[in-house]
Symmetry: C2
Subunit: 248 residues, 2 copies
């Protein structure tokens, strides 16, 4: 499996392309065993959402951009799935925000860390993005979180005030919130623990969402005025949308 | 990855055990690249259904058992996911029904066929099931279906009248229906093409469903009287259940 031969006119082209990217990431050793299963769960929710950025997701993107642009020390935190699916979009967003990217994975092994780093580094070189990629030399820990997934960098995750963590796990999301950070997650399941625990949850597919964030940042086409964000109300809107999508 | 160490008291034990079984199946070369993603999609729907056999699924199981027990030539058709997740349950059900099992896979390769056959054969030997396992020497084709997935055995799928095909693909389901067969599918997504095209759709998780079918057959505890089956009404019931499950 190296070439991707699907016709762009295929009705499932976008979905097939993402699967292909994940298969390549798996070949590079970037993914844990559960990564493809997690992707499948996301596919099911995206299918129910209608495979487009909803008005609720769009509002959440605005709120997320507002928080990131006004942050003292923003950061984007990635795992193997995120790097494999949206490595280029993530580095572009980090360039636009002028912030670092930190690799932080649930099932940490040095081999997987290196595979993810080299994947991102090759995109950075190719596209000439000037972004710091952290995570390989952790010198700190996220408090109240056990195991290797707590490892992080002091000048990265630890001291950040606003953190964008696509596809986060619920425990870590909670631990980051407990540190007083604004945590923005991108998660297709509005009922997941991460979605419920985040400061701002964008219920949208990762690559679509990050591309849209880059577009709005580049064109400065997002709401710059601060509004109180009601994450629960926004999640309820996404849930209603899914319920509606389940009608024949 | 060989041992499965999760504690049975873990709230996600059942789900983790199925993942482990799939990982073993992948190691044995039984699965296509998309198998884990498909499993993840199922996980999402099972989560929304509440991870239990619903009353709608229970009614569909009754209708399915009635059709299988009264068939002239019933058959159970399996792919790599089905064999990996529920090989033992499938062979037990085939023993109780006195019918053969036919391996029939979407992305057919001889290597994968052999891996699935040997997996099932080892369970058959270990548990002393007297079941014919077909599919390795196809001598016929399902009409109106292109490619290797149409290959089947004359005394198996081709001449069967009632066919249980868990996790079927939509095209093949349609082609089998066009042959005049009663097609029973087990699919967690009530909106999938297979679910919509089948004669009887059981919206339930595979291992839970097959275990329940075996239990009812063994104890003869299912409805023996023939009733007209309204698959659309039953699917609508499952859809309502999912919509209801999405409320906070």
């Amino acid at each position: 499996m190296t070439d991707f031969a699907a016709d762009p006119s295929h009705p499932r082209y976008g979905s097939l392309l993402l699967r292909h990217k994940l298969e390549l990431a798996a070949e590079k050793g970037m993914l844990a065993g559960s990564a493809l299963i997690a992707h499948g769960r996301g596919e099911a929710f995206d299918y129910l959402i209608g495979e487009q950025t909803s008005t609720f997701a769009s509002e959440a993107i605005d709120a997320a951009l507002h928080a990131l642009v006004h942050a003292q020390q923003p950061i984007i935190c990635v795992n193997g799935n995120v790097a494999g699916l949206a490595g280029e979009e993530i580095l572009r967003l980090a360039t636009l925000l002028g912030c670092p990217v930190e690799i932080n994975i649930f099932y940490r092994t040095e081999q997987r860390m290196e595979a993810i780093y080299h994947h991102l580094d090759s995109i950075r070189t190719k596209s000439q993005f000037e972004v710091n990629i952290l995570g390989r030399e952790p010198n700190s820990r996220i408090p109240n979180l056990e195991g290797p997934r707590a490892m992080c960098e002091k000048d990265g995750i630890l001291n950040s005030d606003v953190i964008l963590v696509p596809l986060e796990d619920g425990d870590r999301c909670e631990a980051l919130r407990a540190m007083g950070k604004t945590v923005i997650v991108i998660d297709l399941n509005p009922l997941s623990r991460s979605s419920q625990k985040a400061s701002i949850t964008i219920v949208d597919e990762l690559t679509r969402c990050i591309s849209e964030m880059c577009h709005r940042l580049k064109h400065q086409s997002f709401n710059h005025t601060h509004q109180v964000w009601d994450n629960t109300a926004n999640l309820d809107g996404s849930l209603d949308l899914i319920r509606h999508g389940m009608k024949h």
